[in-house]
Symmetry: C2
Subunit: 251 residues, 2 copies
């Protein structure tokens, strides 16, 4: 799909996007030197790119600290996504309803290069809760959202697109791709994907796949293991199917 000449992609473009990515993962901005280290490019190269980005206000430059951060115009791009794609606001409404119904943290993710990219979260009102971060990724094979989405793929795609051997997480995680295939078959059958402390010890997750606007999402609820039982599981599954039905109906 990329240009034949440079199969890796357009270098300057990749760098612009990497700079955005680096800046979005920071709290108080980055210096040029820090960006260079993260992006893995020499400062003489990023110099003009960074200045162009700052001049156009997609990146903001703080003169007093000498640090770059995400700019106002980039924020507006995100708003445009909301407006165009029917928005994620419908997801957020549904997620708030899920949290209200079962009292646990609800998360939304997609698959990005074989990993789960978390795009939205509504926190549990309880004190003990999860620490995942929006914009961060986790392996797909050991997360409920990952399995939920993969269950909608054909076997061949899963085998070719998922990095194997799997990244190691906890003892409970599925170790071989054939075992994962069996789990996915089970997800297709019952509609729910489970992560029984596979990603992190003591965290149980349940997820459903949701198709919306031609895209596959995974919607999950995470529960600390010590308050997880059959009753909680039933409640979560009920809340998740309600959310899925509501979201897929309006499309």
């Amino acid at each position: 799909m990329s240009s034949r000449y440079n199969p890796a992609g357009h270098r300057s473009t990749l760098r612009v996007l990497s700079i955005f990515e680096a800046l979005s993962a920071t709290k108080s901005g980055l210096t040029m030197a820090e960006i260079c280290r993260i992006v893995g490019a020499p400062k003489s190269s990023l110099f003009s790119i960074l200045h162009t980005m700052a001049d156009s206000d997609y990146v903001s430059y703080d003169e007093t600290t000498g640090r770059y951060s995400i700019g106002l115009k980039t924020y507006l791009l995100g708003k445009a996504f909301d407006r165009e794609s029917g928005g994620l606001s419908s997801f957020e409404t549904a997620m708030r309803k899920v949290v209200a119904s079962c009292g646990e943290t609800c998360q939304l993710g997609v698959l990005d290069h074989g990993r789960v990219l978390y795009i939205s979260r509504v926190d549990s009102p309880q004190h003990i809760r999860l620490s995942s971060e929006i914009g961060k990724t986790l392996p797909a094979h050991c997360t409920a959202i990952g399995k939920a989405i993969l269950s909608r793929w054909d076997e061949e795609s899963v085998r070719s697109l998922l990095p194997f051997p799997f990244e190691k997480t906890t003892e409970h995680a599925v170790k071989h791709i054939d075992d994962l295939m069996r789990q996915l078959e089970e997800v297709r059958r019952c509609g729910f994907a489970y992560d029984h402390q596979e990603m992190a010890e003591g965290v149980e997750c349940i997820a459903v796949p949701i198709e919306k606007g031609g895209r596959l999402y995974g919607l999950s609820v995470s529960v600390p293991a010590y308050r997880f039982d059959t009753e909680v599981q039933n409640g979560v599954e009920h809340a998740l199917s309600d959310a899925r039905d509501q979201l897929e109906r309006v499309s």
Copy 2:
């Protein structure tokens, strides 16, 4: 501030940003040819850039329609801005309060290349209201937000950065930059900037400048002329100064 070699900026970067900008201004996506026309670059050049953007999910490509639009990852960049910059959420809270208090549309903007860039809006509950669009720009000299922000600049910057002669809007708009200077002096004195049907016939606006996070914003309320009088004006000014005080206090 740009690189000495290419005073206009880094070409590839400018193109990436232009593509983002073009995509953010559309409702249902653009084809490659359309993007080329908007950006003003040949398709052989944008080909690889666009594919690289789509591969990284910052841009999404709809195979059925052949159209590109803003991608999910770009949305996450916007969220990162919110998280980093203390967010615009505090502005939005304040704006909702303004609308609740005076019942008219409230808008937030900044200056971008001598024009007012609208970044947020909370609509009036009334039926007759405005049609401005988030992400769009208007001339600064004939808008309340523009004048509010310019009042915090020194005279030399205003004269050098504002495009003159002014773009023509309505008969009521200020025509000469010297007249604008007198108006800005008045804004500095009383704290409020006015647009008396200067941008659009029948629309009155009042704005205050707000400094937050090292950036200058303008917060305005727009009122249809037929329901504008001294009493309304007092109410709006009261609501705007409350909002400004609240926003600048927390910083």
